[in-house]
Symmetry: C2
Subunit: 364 residues, 2 copies
């Protein structure tokens, strides 16, 4: 049934479009992997504020899975998936001043559309790579490292001597947050993940790996006053427990999942979690009496409203990379045609580190 | 009736006490100014962790008024008023290492007890003054400048190029916050106060003085995206409006009044406001969707739980003072015996700047 719907939607879209087409990962309808097709798809014309990029590498994210499953209902298929890519600039619009043909650029667009041989993107969504930075490492930065950056350095304002608790420290954002916390100097890092990943996260800088069961008692045993910063990834309903692990003046940052933007009722566990979060409140009186700081972060919406803030954060990340203070961990790189296998690996959480797609075409 | 109650309470306390007495401002019962008596009152013996100080100057605060009115019910009269004083150390306990006899120290204790010729205070509540800092200026620092410091520099993390909105910018905390914001470099400062104080606050550094009516439209006219930091002094129910004046990643700090600690039902307007605040919640979803940071601050409770944090903030304030970046504004200095007149001035909001008491005794 899904397959039929996919075919129909795809045919309608093709009839409505005209002009140049490029190879793309097209989501032809909500559903399983059968709705993902690698095929030619229309590319928009270059606008005055746009940049055209010959794509080399794309980053695979959970948001691609959610989009495919229909959890982001404001995105209607058929559409091209992909929120991160990196490559070489082949054309720039008349109004673009700071990017030129031949530059290597990283692109981030939380509404997708970047899994293609060539992309046309607004210049505000592009970041010129520093010399010598590899495509592979840079493609791993936007979703994970920008999110972690705003948690640890901007809102968190982490300094040497402080402590942080990172939920899911073996995940993409958690991995990046661990490195960014270490970049502040001598810090104490608590993080939850499954026991078999404890060695890996310790290697990455987590000083106290914890398991999900009873982590709060374990943390308070080491640090009875609590910690200075907490990153809560909304993957559980532990928000209230986590707040109690904060020192006075401590700050907790809740990272918004894209799924919470929508009002889909389809997915059991997610739907429960979304409902829980939608009714979750913080009491102003508690904030005051506990000297507590509570923050929310949604990278995609932040980029829409404050592109300059994102640009300056990315510049800082590039500096930290050049200083050797951050280094993305790549799990695997898949040919573009193997996008289903790459997404499946992520969905089954079999990866440790970033999953990438490599675009290899004759015309570049 | 109040006077009778005061006399009785005072007599009972005197009968229970013994030993040395020093001249003190004693609150003999809840009520009007008639419950304030300047008279000899027992002083505690010097403990191992204590410091004894010959007091020179005391700072007068709203918390003294609230205590007198019975809004802080956990403080039971008879008691000695006063949360700030400064003077010369005359004795130190055996366990005190960093303070010596002859040092000039500033003392802060949010539960009171400092309006006296001599005080015995825990060393953790004392700050050794830098050479050359006057008693008058230093006595104006704790309540106002420490509170403003945590809002602007710690939680706010204010940097050059940013903007701040300070509610009641002509008040003690607002005045200090204006100077601390200016110390960050080139900043934009919005603040509300009555129109007749606009010239004074502009002189102090407020770039856009606003009136209380319709300030939000006026602010957004100058700064359509909102501001980076907001200091909300809980003096009104504008918390929800104020949050909408925040930029993405902007932070709002709500300063807790001591009155909210209590459950007194006696005072109409305060009682309403306390009720309003006690039910006030921040939605986790809003925090995320708006990329917003919401914080609460209660200086007294912070000092109880994290004295070292307060010590290091005060050191930074002393540095800023020596660099000429902050300078308390003194409204008037009253003899110790005129404490009623000094408190009345504050209660009627006739002061601009800090109101102080001077202790002048023959034995110093």
């Amino acid at each position: 049934m899904y397959t039929d719907a996919c075919r129909l939607a795809s045919a309608v879209w093709r009839m409505m479009s005209a002009g140049e087409e490029v190879r793309s990962v097209v989501l032809t309808g909500y559903g399983g992997y059968e709705c993902l097709k690698v095929k030619p798809w229309p590319i928009q014309a270059l606008g005055a504020g746009d940049v055209r990029v010959a794509v080399a590498i794309c980053g695979v994210n959970f948001s691609d899975l959610y989009t495919r499953q229909g959890m982001l209902r404001e995105l209607q298929p058929p559409l091209v998936l992909g929120t991160e890519c990196v490559g070489e600039v082949t054309a720039v619009g008349a109004a673009v001043a700071h990017i030129k043909v031949g530059d290597h650029v990283l692109c981030y667009k939380f509404t997708g559309g970047l899994y293609r041989d060539h992309v046309v993107v607004a210049a505000s969504h592009c970041f010129v790579l520093p010399p010598g930075m590899s495509y592979e490492d840079s493609a791993a930065l936007p979703a994970n490292y920008l999110t972690a950056y705003f948690c640890v350095h901007d809102i968190g304002h982490m300094r040497a001597g402080q402590s942080i608790f990172i939920s899911s420290c073996a995940g993409g954002v958690g991995w990046a947050a661990t490195q960014l916390a270490c970049s502040a100097g001598d810090v104490t890092i608590f993080g939850t993940c499954s026991p078999e990943k404890h060695d890996a996260v310790r290697e990455n800088g987590v000083t106290h790996p914890l398991t999900y069961d009873g982590y709060e008692q374990e943390l308070l045993k080491h640090s009875p006053d609590g910690v200075d910063i907490i990153i809560d990834n909304m993957a559980s309903s532990a928000f209230t427990i986590n707040q109690r692990l904060l020192k006075p003046l401590g700050r907790i940052v809740v990272i918004g999942a894209n799924s919470m933007v929508t009002d889909s009722q389809k997915f059991g566990w997610w739907s429960f979690l979304r409902l829980w979060w939608s009714t979750k409140n913080v009491s102003a009186r508690d904030l005051i009496m506990q000297n507590r700081v509570v923050a929310g972060l949604h990278l995609g919406l932040l980029m829409e409203r404050q592109p300059n803030t994102i640009q300056s954060a990315m510049s800082h990340l590039f500096q930290l990379y050049e200083q050797g203070k951050i280094k993305p961990h790549i799990d695997s790189i898949w040919p573009f045609d193997k996008v289903v296998e790459a997404m499946r690996l992520l969905a089954e959480r079999k990866n440790v580190g970033k999953v990438l797609l490599r675009v290899e075409t004759a015309d570049k």
